[in-house]
């Protein structure tokens, strides 16, 4: 039943997609074009824009702090992603056994996912506190020494990565559970007949079958990790000694603390390109594996 008279549907179609068209022009198209203009200018919003040519890029190439903030973000990802996958897989496999109250456990593990990152960070700031924090109190009770969770440059970013894992892992448990439930039972039955132990079953059946879910988890947490902002903003303010200064926090400071709009736009542009390249490489690697 395709109507041949084109005109009325043409008009209606355009009218009904108008909200998106407007949204795109205003909030996607214009900002994109404008960011191209902005990166060649110096501007603090109040005084007129000043053309500076490529000076923003030259400044960027010499901005050690910006590169450190990117390295910090990568450090976060390198700890966060593997930790997340291991913990999520472990809990998902356990939840996938024949157990009671599966829904209850799943709901509990998922709880931090829905709560605001601000709450999580304020809460963990107390857990991590050096003198009176819960974790150090527990450690000293066990006869161990205190850990400078967020007060030592070597510990601060890993601590934030642990907290982020605690917050997000519930979502990935659920994704892995969906993946696990898609694995046909007969594979395990056949393996059992062949005498494969549970560990072997895990590595030769479960893990390969979850390949696409693992990739999805990696991509999702990469995108999330690159936008790391509120956690260091609240927890450490980027310190100690800039060890938790994430790229987003640095861009935010440049724009809204120092008022360097042109330069911040350049940083954002450059950083977005890095994010895009890394995510696209990840996707490419997957497609190659699938074929």
């Amino acid at each position: 039943m395709k109507r041949k008279s084109k005109n009325p549907e043409n008009r209606l179609g355009h009218l009904m997609s108008l909200p998106y068209t407007l949204y795109f022009l205003l909030f996607v198209g214009f900002p994109l074009v404008f960011s191209f203009i902005l990166i060649f200018h110096k501007w603090n919003v109040i005084t007129p824009m000043e053309w500076v040519g490529l000076r923003n890029f030259i400044r960027l190439s010499q901005d050690k702090l910006f590169f450190q903030s990117i390295l910090n973000t990568l450090k976060f990802l390198i700890i966060h992603i593997p930790l997340q996958i291991v913990v999520a897989l472990l809990l998902a496999v356990l939840l996938n056994q024949k157990i009671k109250a599966r829904g209850f456990f799943r709901a509990v593990y998922f709880l931090p996912v829905i709560v605001s990152g601000v709450v999580i960070t304020l809460l963990w700031r107390q857990l991590y506190a050096y003198d009176s924090g819960l974790l150090n109190t527990l450690l000293t009770k066990l006869g161990l020494s205190r850990i400078p969770w967020i007060t030592h440059p070597d510990w601060a970013m890993p601590s934030i990565a642990i907290m982020a894992t605690w917050k997000n892992v519930g979502l990935y448990i659920v994704l892995f559970l969906v993946g696990l439930q898609g694995i046909p039972r007969y594979l395990y039955e056949a393996a059992e007949i062949d005498g494969a132990r549970p560990v072997q079953q895990f590595f030769f059946i479960t893990l390969p079958a979850l390949n696409s879910t693992i990739v999805l988890v990696i991509i999702l947490s990469t995108i999330g990790g690159f936008s790391l902002f509120i956690e260091p903003f609240v927890m450490t303010g980027g310190g100690p000694v800039n060890s938790t200064l994430s790229a987003m926090l640095y861009i935010y400071n440049q724009a809204f603390y120092f008022g360097h709009m042109g330069y911040a736009a350049t940083l954002g542009f450059f950083f977005a390109v890095i994010v895009l390249i890394i995510v696209l490489i990840q996707k490419k690697l997957v497609e190659q594996k699938d074929t």
């Binding site: 209606l12 994109l32 819960l134 709009m261």
Partner: protein
């Protein structure tokens, strides 16, 4: 025996995820001296911390702001998402595939690139320090459009043909026939946009400076970071608890929908 270890592990895991929240709620009622205690019990429960929060910041006003902003965003995302989704799935018009291509393309663009220009746009519109800056840029979600489109594609054509014979136009078909069928999508899109809007802090921090218009997460963040809490742990935890409790309460009743919605979002991306 094996079952025992599984349960033990799951329960320990459950405590690791749940106990910090219980501790936070309990600590927010404890006097400042007892906050560092690991246990939940105190014989001196008090409302002092909450009084301090309410005294220092307009926390209820920020709760109202957050509720208002997130509700407007959510309703709008559902309304416009279904309209555009309908056009992209059920109407044939010139440029449809182009729009679809643009939508898929824009989903790849990292937000870091548009953040600063978006702020400048708000300045130029005169929207800084207004609800408009918090609501209007969030009124459309490409993800919402795609979810509605996908769902509408699977609705049988017969239904539409029958409705047309009964004299329904496209808008009537959308709102009287498609909407009642779309409960699962509406719930998913609703939960995702509400949570996204409710939990967002970066954007409010950028466009709102006056206290009367701050959203709740923003208010609590600045309370803790900006030194207003004066290092009173109890007050910080009380503010955090007030921010967490509404969404935990909703979650307690609808946790299945939350989990399913968030899982579909992950899987569809």
């Amino acid at each position: 025996m094996k079952k025992f270890w599984i349960y033990l592990f799951l329960i320990v895991g459950g405590l690791i995820f749940a106990y910090p929240f219980l501790w936070m709620i309990s600590a927010s009622f404890k006097p400042e001296m007892e906050i560092s205690h690991v246990g939940l019990w105190s014989s001196h429960y008090t409302l002092e911390s909450y009084k301090a929060v309410m005294h220092k910041i307009p926390i209820w006003r920020s709760l109202f702001n957050s509720l208002f902003v997130s509700s407007c965003v959510t309703l709008s995302v559902i309304f416009f998402g279904s309209i555009v989704g309908y056009a992209l799935s059920r109407l044939r018009f010139f440029g449809r595939d182009l729009i679809l291509g643009v939508i898929l393309f824009t989903m790849v663009i990292p937000f870091q690139i548009t953040l600063i220009p978006m702020y400048i746009l708000m300045v130029k519109f005169g929207w800084v320090d207004s609800y408009a800056a918090l609501i209007v840029p969030g009124m459309i979600s490409t993800f919402g459009i795609l979810l509605f489109r996908q769902f509408f594609l699977d609705i049988p054509q017969d239904l539409i043909d029958a409705a047309r014979i009964d004299g329904c136009n496209d808008l009537m078909i959308l709102f009287r026939i498609f909407w009642p069928l779309s409960r699962p999508v509406i719930i998913t899109v609703g939960i995702i946009s509400f949570m996204g809007s409710w939990n967002d802090v970066l954007w409010p921090l950028i466009v709102i400076r006056v206290r009367e218009l701050m959203t709740m997460p923003q208010m609590v963040t600045l309370f803790a970071v900006g030194g207003q809490a004066e290092a009173q742990l109890g007050a910080e935890l009380a503010a955090a608890t007030l921010l967490a409790v509404p969404i935990i309460l909703v979650y307690a009743f609808f946790q299945r929908y939350f989990i399913e919605s968030m899982a579909t979002t992950g899987l569809k991306n």
